[in-house]
């Protein structure tokens, strides 16, 4: 599978920069994928911030570090939780969908029909989806970060009645570019992983409907696993670059 995925990725990079560019199709997928994922990431983002603040409050109070709670929530969400959890949810929602959709197109010969009509199915079906995933995930992540930070505020407000202004000032002061940029930058990689794994599994599906089901589920498993492994590498890289 690693060899197949690598070849598939090389094929993607060979095609993505060569015209014709499928802007309309990319935009359509971005709309669709963004809208599809928005409700679930909204709920998750808000709850992550809320729960993180609620869980951390007693521990931080024990060390007399409650004043650092907003900073802790913001840093955790921006550097790690926001990007990774959004990517994992995105993988669950989108990668499986792409795997199933392309898988079903493969087994019902729709991809063959496209190919035989002199239309490059790889460019039309794969490149557009991978680019859309790569571009939409960072946007979703930024949105989740804001929601999570707001969720954190709500938890702190309920127990400590902190003002929103004080909370946001503390958060803004705590965050630096070296926190925000790597946090968002890695979501481009995560988006790419979700797109490429989903399309790879779907595009190469076989054995009828059973193959479609397998493409759909294995897309999620493989994408999630690669996201976590990539995160490990990217965090190390971030630490090396930004300190």
């Amino acid at each position: 599978m690693i060899a197949g995925l690598t070849t598939f990725s090389i094929q993607f990079f060979k095609k993505v920069f060569i015209p014709p560019y499928e802007f309309a199709e990319i935009k359509r997928h971005m709309d669709e994928l963004g809208v599809k994922t928005l409700p679930i990431v909204s709920v998750t983002g808000f709850i992550i911030g809320l729960v993180l603040a609620m869980q951390s409050q007693p521990t931080m109070a024990r060390f007399g570090a409650e004043a650092y709670l907003p900073s802790m929530v913001a840093l955790s969400v921006v550097r790690e939780l926001g990007p990774v959890i959004t990517a994992l949810i995105f993988a669950g929602r989108v990668s499986s969908g792409i795997g199933a959709e392309l898988g079903s197109m493969r087994v019902t010969e729709q991809i063959d029909a496209m190919e035989v009509s002199a239309i490059n199915p790889f460019r039309f079906l794969v490149v557009t989806r991978v680019v859309a995933c790569t571009l939409i995930l960072p946007m979703l992540t930024v949105y989740v970060m804001f929601l999570a930070i707001f969720g954190g505020y709500l938890a702190i407000f309920l127990s400590r009645h902190i003002s929103f202004q004080l909370y946001t000032n503390t958060v803004v002061n705590a965050l630096e570019f070296s926190d925000v940029i790597p946090g968002i930058a890695k979501t481009f990689f995560f988006g790419y992983i979700v797109g490429i794994v989903g399309t790879y599994k779907g595009y190469n599906a076989d054995n009828g409907t059973e193959g479609v089901g397998r493409a759909s589920t294995s897309s999620v498993v493989v994408a999630s696993l690669i996201i976590l492994l990539a995160d490990m590498v990217l965090v190390k890289l971030t630490v090396l670059i930004w300190g």
Binding site: M105, T108, D112, V116, S117, A118, I119, N120
Partner: protein
Amino acid sequence: MAEVEVRNLSKAFGESVVLDNISLKINEGENVVVFGRSGTGKSVLLKCIVRLMEPDAGEIFIEGKSVLSLSEKKLNEIRKEIGFLFQSAALYDSMTVRENLAFPLIRNFNFSQKEVEAKVKSSLEKVSLEEAIDKMPAELSGGMKKRIGLARTIITEPKLILYDEPTTGLDPITTKEISQLIVELQKDLKTTAIVVTHDLICAKIIASHAVVLKDGKIKYEGNIENLVTTSDPFLKDFFSSEILEVKNGRN
């Protein structure tokens, strides 16, 4: 019109040899029917001709050009002249009938929006399904899907049309209608055609020349009428039920 020549074509899937050194020539404007039991490589033959599958050995020529040695760009130029009707019709699920038909025109040719619309309507008229223009494939019956698939196949006015079991799974009346439709379309467009089918009725309506595949080899090649009166035990056995129906006047 297009001439197709297959030379010493072989294809195996693992241990199973599906096509074994097959050679075949289809002249311009000729309609050939390919028979054979399930799994004898009929569809594989069609897919090799348009290079949806790469054969293990052999050569394929369309209008004298070796298909297997062409670059992707040149292959696509040839594919623009070929129509392929899939067994399942292979309509794009996410598109309406209109979008399905317009898709190859928009992607491959420089027609104006008006011209595309006119061609879509004219193709649907040929298959008598104008009213289905805004329907999704999921809303169509099996026969309608085949007709729409046929309309999409002919919309680019191809020189060569490959039909992969165009009547499988359809009732006898729809089978006859589709077969007659194929004949009418071929008269209009003056195409060369290769038809893979199990249906002798369909075959007799569409073509005069037949090829029968058995164990990866060509078992019979010649006039379709002779198949009905053949003394070969395999052919007799293969066509017995169909011949009975023909004799009973189904055609």
